[in-house]
Symmetry: C2
Subunit: 319 residues, 2 copies
């Protein structure tokens, strides 16, 4: 999709494989499996684009932070999969299903630490290290809030936005901003890039939550309604809890820890009978419109176009 | 025990409580519980002593790293307790028993990130950040190796030393060295401090493993032989597997994942009938002797004395 950073992303794969090599065989094994299980590499892509937004670009300087960014994302997914007892991610066996919860927890810790050593050892300034650690604080805080709220049937939209900002959008925003800092862009430009990342991050997570309700089982490797099953209330459900004539029945289902398949199917049916899906989709469009307009005019045209395409891609994605 | 750093340790408690304050109530709650559950604060103590070994000492400068050090230790204990499904630590409820595995995993991640943001935001140099991230890599690698080897009845002493170095001794060594760096000590002095920390770290972990076999249940909140029960083979057991006439029976027990209480009692009996305990104790004494002799002569007398006392304390500790 992003021709301008295609070689950066190819080099990233090599750099990640090199990073997970360890004298401890099992660490290399787990790390290699996680890298090879793939992923969209959205975060490093957003970062590379911003890093190419200035007058010069030094891949050797930029690469360690790209690896660190993706490793932090991978570490959080590994811990998420332990928490969710997930067997598959993107159709591939999760670390916990292959090596057990213990090794998966420790493997995640290892990736977090490795990310920091990459940043510490490559002469980035304090702003970068600060951003990176704040980002993990936010990530875990977002997950903690989500976990605390499961099976609670909250109808609080503001709380939902706060949670997905912490869990997803701030991370994407930080990636854009850190790239901008390395590109030597002005404070105004990096702030605009941050806001772009924030907006597509919100759109991305709401879309993720929509797809959880609407996608086929095999597309993302999870059954439809998996969030509801896990007690996680997302925007279409929050909307339905507010407007549906069957809101009480929906509430009873989404607060039930022993949810049967037919209860889940009924909950999805109730949500789909409301404007919950369209309502959430409209929010996605608002965020994407904001993302498109906030992009600095001063960016090189191929970078601006790639960022616009990223926004289009989020609107269209079906997995 | 350490009068010279008594006020530093008191200030540390306050700084830790301040650090875990968060707009997210549950984070403050978990963090405060973990800080108030106490601990020996051995790592920050070793660090403070070294930091007071130079010509000047600036507590404001030194404190954030002390908090970071103890938070990394706390985070690793929180994840350990999830992995071990432990209900109690030092007689207090563990995070996983109070809030469940999910929040405990995420709470640990949060503490790791918080530790890094403390270091990133306070102008320490790259050597410190590198050391800190390498330290977590080592910590998780040590735990990963241990986890991979459970119920394996290894008789390899070298592997045991490598594992406890990664799990414990390197951390203590890093604390001494980082304090020395902040005190502005010479490369020779900081290297000697590192070796001191390494030696008492080895002695400390072997003692821990000895106490697991010999202590009463209520002293450390775990039943005697807990390591064996979890499939972790420590030095006295490795020794017994090598020298006991009942080595085969011992091997059968320590490799059994469905270990009954009477099997465990028999395993402890077999180990205690050999020189395993004395053998491990002799290793402790060798490491402590090395710790005492490696200390730089140039350290202020009160710091040298405190470090000597730390070595004596490890020799005597019964909990």
């Amino acid at each position: 999709m992003f021709d301008v950073i295609k070689q950066d992303l190819a080099a990233l794969e090599e750099a990640m494989i090199a990073t997970v090599q360890s004298p401890v065989a099992i660490i290399t094994e787990i790390g290699t499996h996680l890298v090879q299980s793939g992923g969209k590499r959205l975060r490093p892509a957003l970062y590379f684009l911003a890093a190419r937004g200035g007058v010069s670009f030094d891949r050797d300087k930029v690469m360690p932070l790209a690896v660190a960014i993706e490793m932090i994302h991978m570490a959080s997914l590994v811990h998420d999969d332990v928490i969710d007892s997930a067997d598959l991610r993107r159709g591939t066996a999760t670390a916990n299903s292959k090596w057990g919860n213990q090794l998966a927890i420790l493997g995640g810790d290892y990736l977090f630490a490795k990310a920091f050593s990459l940043v510490a050892g490559n002469g980035y300034d304090d702003r970068i290290t600060m951003r990176l650690s704040q980002l993990i604080c936010d990530l875990s805080a977002g997950e903690i809030i989500q976990n605390k709220e499961i099976y609670k049937a909250s109808r609080d939209e503001a709380e939902y936005y706060d949670r997905i900002a912490k869990k997803t959008a701030n991370f994407l925003a930080d990636c854009c901003e850190m790239g901008g800092i390395l590109a030597g862009l002005s404070a105004i430009e990096t702030k605009a890039l941050y806001e772009y990342g924030q907006a597509i991050g919100m759109a991305f997570q709401i879309t993720d939550d929509l797809l959880d309700l609407t996608a086929e089982t095999d597309a993302i490797g999870k059954p439809a309604g998996n969030d509801i099953l896990q007690g996680i209330v997302t925007l279409p459900v929050i909307r339905a809890l507010g407007v549906s004539a069957d809101a009480q029945e929906l509430e009873q289902i989404v607060t039930c820890r022993e949810m049967s398949a037919s209860m889940l199917a009924r909950a999805i049916e109730i949500v789909k009978a409301t404007d919950g899906i369209d309502y959430a989709q409209a929010k996605v469009d608002t965020y994407l419109e904001r993302a498109r307009t906030v992009l600095p005019e001063s960016l090189p045209v191929e970078i601006r176009e790639a960022y616009q395409m990223a926004a289009d891609f989020i609107r269209l994605r079906k997995y």
